[in-house]
């Protein structure tokens, strides 16, 4: 086993090593701090323009209370496909942020496994996060037993729809069964609108549809076992899910050529009148509907019916991690605790808080409030691009892409997916 420090030491002078660190992304792994002083912090996030100012305002409040100077940097709109790469590059360059926001599951896991993120167990005890934060969310930020992150939000995915599109098609109420959903799709298509706005570029968004179809055909227990590899994917329930997936494409219930469309664009089609509904989380009310100059009352939200009890939807956790090499871990943890206070969440207009007392405001975000009062309290399964490591998630999507293009039959897709899981478990 060789460490990078030994390699650098063997191979040249300090100037050259410094150059290497800058160019290849490697750095010596001790003695490097990310803060230039004990009162300086840097927070890295992916807030977009509609929320970044709110965050900066709250961070400024924290600075005023604690005599710190915190710089907030954001990479808006990049999504889970790009942001972790930027973060990784910063960390390898030796000047990573003290605190960063990140998704849970397999997106956050590599940073904890590589010990770039600090084990926060001490701070969980110090601030009582275990008792204050939703346990399911804590689970989403725990990696092989290590509490590597502090959950911030837990988001459930639902169907967000245009009431005008439903009314025009004669769909009087959101579907309550899978059969009703298919009927609604047929009516919507007949009325001249694409039912579900989804795009497969990057893979993850169209995967929201497949994971729903898998939950519907397999049911909660089997679905969970499939994700952990405790049951074989080469089975009828999975074949049914792939068959239905293809059906959605063939029936034109998703856009023509959905596999190549950018989800950032397509997700908003339901607001723009180009599709009837989409699969997304409560952030869409502020960032999609209201930011687009539309009124919340013209839209609605429903749970995708699975015909199973419990009715689960997919979801994911986002949280914050602390750099293992930060110059001031205590202050960084204090910042995290501050960010997770109910009043901070309210000020940040968080619609899916992990702490009690920070529900969305009913007057300004009525749909998010409606979601928070009902579906958000139900159990959810991890969205599948976070349930698998990135490589396997991409292979999974490649299989889905082949099914949609008719290159792979549903039965073969189930077999191929079992091969992916088998290789992963090795």
């Amino acid at each position: 086993m060789i460490n990078r420090r030994k390699f650098l030491g063997l191979s040249g002078g300090a100037a050259i090593a410094a150059g290497l660190a800058a160019c290849t992304g490697t750095s010596s792994d001790s003695g490097s701090t990310t803060s230039t002083g004990s009162k300086e912090l840097r927070l890295f996030t992916y807030e977009d323009n509609s929320t970044i100012d709110l965050l900066k305002e709250q961070v400024k409040k924290f600075d005023t209370q604690n005599g710190t100077t915190t710089t907030v940097d954001s990479l808006p709109g990049s999504g889970a496909a790009v942001y972790p790469d930027k973060l990784r590059t910063e960390l390898l360059g030796g000047k990573g942020p003290d605190v960063w926001r990140i998704w849970g599951g397999q997106i956050g896991a590599p940073f904890v496994k590589a010990k770039q993120a600090m084990d926060l167990s001490t701070y969980y005890q110090k601030y009582g996060w275990d008792s204050k934060i939703n346990p399911a969310a804590v689970e989403g930020m725990t990696f092989d037993g290590v509490k590597g992150g502090m959950p911030f939000i837990a988001l459930g995915i639902g169907g967000w729809y245009s009431k005008a599109a439903f009314a025009k098609a004669g769909v009087t109420a959101p579907p309550k069964t899978y059969a009703e959903l298919e009927e609604a799709n047929a009516k919507l298509l007949k009325s001249g609108i694409t039912p579900l706005g989804t795009g497969g570029k990057y893979g993850w968004h169209v995967m929201r549809l497949f994971e729903y179809l898998l939950e519907t055909s397999a049911g909660p227990d089997l679905h969970d076992k499939l994700l952990t590899g405790d049951e074989s994917w080469d089975r009828p329930e999975v074949v049914t899910a792939f068959t239905n997936f293809k059906k959605w494409q063939d029936q034109k219930w998703i856009p023509d050529g959905a596999v190549g469309l950018d989800p950032a664009e397509v997700e908003l089609w339901y607001v723009q009148g180009k599709s009837a509904y989409t699969i997304t989380g409560p952030w869409t009310e502020a960032q999609g509907i209201q930011a687009g100059g539309k009124k919340s009352e013209d839209f609605g939200v429903f749970e995708f019916p699975t015909d199973h009890d419990p009715l689960r939807h997919s979801g994911f956790v986002e949280g914050y991690m602390i750099n293992a090499k930060t110059g001031n871990p205590d202050m960084a943890a204090a910042l995290l605790d501050f960010l997770n206070q109910p009043e901070t969440h309210k000020a940040l207009k968080i619609t899916a808080s992990v702490v009690a007392g920070a529900e969305p405001d009913q007057a300004t975000l009525p749909l998010s409030y409606e979601w928070a009062q009902g579906p958000a309290k139900k159990p959810f399964y991890t969205i599948q691009d976070q349930a698998f490591p990135k490589k396997e998630a991409d292979q999974y999507f490649a299989i889905q892409s082949d099914v949609l293009q008719g290159k792979t039959s549903p039965a073969d897709a189930a077999k191929k997916m079992q091969d992916v899981i088998k290789a992963m478990k090795k």
């Binding site: 290849t24 990784r88 960390l91 050529g257 190549g260 469309l261 950018d262 991409d394 490649a398």
Partner: protein, 284 residues
């Protein structure tokens, strides 16, 4: 004394190019995940794994197709445009600007422009096809394996025509008009003049244009990344994007840098004729 003068430049070269390149070579013999402080030396294993990786094989084929198409087509089009614009054409400066503009656009903008044009439902290309009654030709251009690579290559050709055109235009200025006058007096037609005066006169430019285009084609990354992200599935993966996915997304930095080493070797081999020609030229 010569070493003293060369030292500053040499130091920068060593620190910012030679050393990182050598360390990348070193990491290609390891199983480094790209994040951890430690790794194991695995010898040539990463290189041995490559032929068994179906995506590497697919990416190499895509690279080859990309290299042939995005070198030949822009060079031929660029040469044609240069010859035409070198003659008596109205609005010559404006036309030169039009044809060269794509070359100065940021690649991400180019990707966005073509992404909109290719949109299967609302894009201009399908809208045009439907408007002229060719509905059957309307395709999800970036959303199916059969057309995705070709569609990205069209964007690349649009982007790259301006560069050879500009170099050929500059080279055409160096060919004496007397030669064409003499050829005309001798009864040579336009086609004969092109083959026997223009083409030989452009020989130095051919080296530059073709060599740089080939090297550029093997480095392709950004246009593919921005337009298709290597998809659908892995249909448009090229060596550059597959290297990126392994290093930065799959935590397989050792394997990814091995791919990078292979790309570099190919680019070096391809650039040898160009470097040799330039060296000879300067030696003369």
């Amino acid at each position: 004394m010569a070493w003293v003068f060369a030292a500053p430049a040499l130091l920068v070269y060593v620190v910012f190019l030679v050393y990182p390149a050598l360390s990348s070579l070193w990491f290609s013999f390891t199983d480094w995940d790209g994040l951890s402080a430690t790794y194991n030396v695995v010898g040539l294993q990463n290189y041995k794994d490559m032929p068994h990786d179906p995506v590497v094989v697919q990416a190499a084929i895509n690279n080859l197709i990309w290299a042939v198409v995005t070198v030949v087509v822009p060079v031929v089009l660029g040469l044609t445009l240069a010859v035409v614009l070198n003659g008596k054409v109205r609005g010559k400066p404006f036309l030169r600007l039009i044809f060269y503009t794509p070359a100065v656009l940021p690649l991400v903008s180019v990707a966005s422009i073509w992404g909109w044009l290719y949109n299967p439902q609302y894009g201009a290309i399908n809208a045009f096809l439907r408007a002229v009654g060719l509905d059957s030709l309307a395709q999800p251009w970036l959303g199916q394996d059969s057309t995705a690579l070709g569609a990205t290559m069209v964007a690349a050709i649009w982007l790259r025509v301006g560069f050879p055109m500009l170099l050929y235009l500059a080279a055409l200025q160096g060919i004496s008009p007397d030669l064409y006058e003499a050829a005309t007096v001798d009864g040579a037609g336009k086609w004969q003049q092109f083959w026997h005066i223009t083409m030989p006169g452009l020989r130095p430019a051919h080296y530059v244009v073709i060599a740089l285009s080939v090297i550029d084609s093997f480095k392709v990354f950004d246009l593919i990344y921005a337009m298709t992200y290597g998809g659908p599935g892995t249909a448009t993966q090229v060596m550059g994007t597959w290297m990126y996915f392994n290093v930065f997304q799959y935590n397989q930095a050792g394997y990814g840098t091995a791919i990078a080493v292979v790309i570099t070797l190919v680019a070096v081999v391809v650039s040898v004729p160009y470097v040799r020609s330039q060296t000879k030229e300067h030696a003369v």
